[in-house]
């Protein structure tokens, strides 16, 4: 399996800087992390996360690397998305309501926080189920959240194994080399930068990601 250090070596080779004198390993790694974040913002890395429903609690926090929440199930049923404007028009003081949740909103919250509207009346069980299907945690009276994550932290150490299949290694290498080679300064290399940008774009297009 490829490590982050292997990918840094690839970037250095493309930039004809094998000793890292023009772009240090740290600089190359940071650039690769930036590329990972850039890809993550496109919502490519979906996750499914279980959260315990708690009586009278309307705000729920997902891991801090959450980029965007797309769907929420409560007690095994879909909740509808609503903005705070929509909820304001529907009823006054909706934030005080308590009964089975019908809506979820991420409006005016940090990206990893969602609000159930109304807040649930009962708490779900946190005891794992056996056999562990559909999930190891009990979905009854609890939440299942479909969201995307930023995988930046998975490539923050040179000994980390690259967490996705190798097609994305090439994308990351080419885009990191593109951004490094176009930096203003003594080492700017526009032909290599342009080539790497186009190669990264070609890879992304074939992987079904619009540029």
């Amino acid at each position: 399996m490829t490590t982050v250090a292997d990918m840094i070596t690839r970037v250095h080779d493309v930039l004809q800087d094998p000793d890292g004198q023009s772009w240090s390993s740290d600089r190359a790694k940071t650039q690769m992390q930036d590329e990972m974040t850039r890809l993550s913002r496109r919502g490519l890395w979906g996750e499914i996360t279980w959260l315990q429903g708690v009586a009278n609690q309307s705000l729920y926090t997902l891991p801090s690397d959450t980029v965007e929440i797309s769907h929420v199930l409560y007690n095994e049923r879909m909740l509808r998305f609503a903005t705070e404007d929509m909820l304001d028009r529907k009823s006054a003081a909706w934030e005080f309501q308590e009964r089975d949740p019908v809506y979820w909103t991420s409006d005016n919250q940090t990206p990893n926080v969602l609000r159930l509207v109304p807040a649930p009346l009962i708490s779900g069980s946190a005891v794992p189920v056996f056999p562990p299907y559909p999930m190891i945690n009990n979905p009854e009276d609890n939440l299942i959240v479909f969201h995307s994550i930023d995988m930046r932290s998975r490539v923050d150490d040179e000994v980390d194994t690259f967490p996705i299949h190798a097609m994305w290694e090439d994308v990351m290498t080419y885009l990191a080399a593109y951004h490094l080679a176009q930096e203003e300064g003594a080492y700017q290399n526009l032909p290599v930068s342009t080539t790497m940008r186009e190669m990264g774009t070609l890879w992304l297009k074939q992987l079904g990601v619009a540029s």
Binding site: T2, D6, T9, R10, D13, V14, L15, Q16, G43, L44, W45, G46, E47, I48, S70, H71, L73, E76, R77, M78, P131, Y133, P134, M135, P139, I144, F146, S148, P163, I164, H165, A166, M167, D170, T173, L190, P191, V192, T194, T195, M196, R197, E198, M199, T201, L202, W203, Q206, L207, G208
Partner: protein, 226 residues
Amino acid sequence: MTVNELIQRIREKLGTVQFYTEAEVIANGINPAQRLLCLLRPDALSQRTTVTLSTNEVFVDLRQASIATWQIRRVVLATTTGENASRSNGDFRDILPVSLNWLMGRRDWFTQKGAVTRYARQGRFWLVFYKRPVQSETITLIYRSVPTAFDMTDLASEPDIQSSYQPLLADIATALLLMKEGAAETEKSVRILSEIFAVEHFDPLRKAIDRLKRQAAQNEVVEARA
């Protein structure tokens, strides 16, 4: 054709340019060449794997089931990996792809139990099946696969892709390695790649390099006048 043989061919094609280490030829030449071939000729490497869907199981993590998947082609309720297909609990049918939004449009989809008829993708990692199986089912995933990457420890290995494509790998790898050398070599790379794949894939690169060259020529004129 082994990796060693590929390296030899690439060295011959690179000619006098001999400052590529073997490790670089593999990491920035052969490995991405295999993947580019698979991206632009997806039929070069298809694979199948079976997944057991336990009773009530609806989520399958592709990172565990088959990390080499880059494009799902078919999902079949049955075992179709070998010569003879076998049914799953008497059933044999395609499980049809739907969008996650289609699935989420059915408010109670997660509670529905019965025959597995649809699947959706949650990002690049997850498959979500509908409905919940009432008994354990065997499913075959048929997918475009990422070829196995090589490193310096397995120079005697052969590529996963079928042998008729293997001679092309040396050309593609040579083209990819030359790209770091500058505009003239990149033009040569585009020529090589355009002979192997459809020209339109590399048109944007060709045009971008042309623009750079025009710009450089204009700059030279301006500098000469100054």
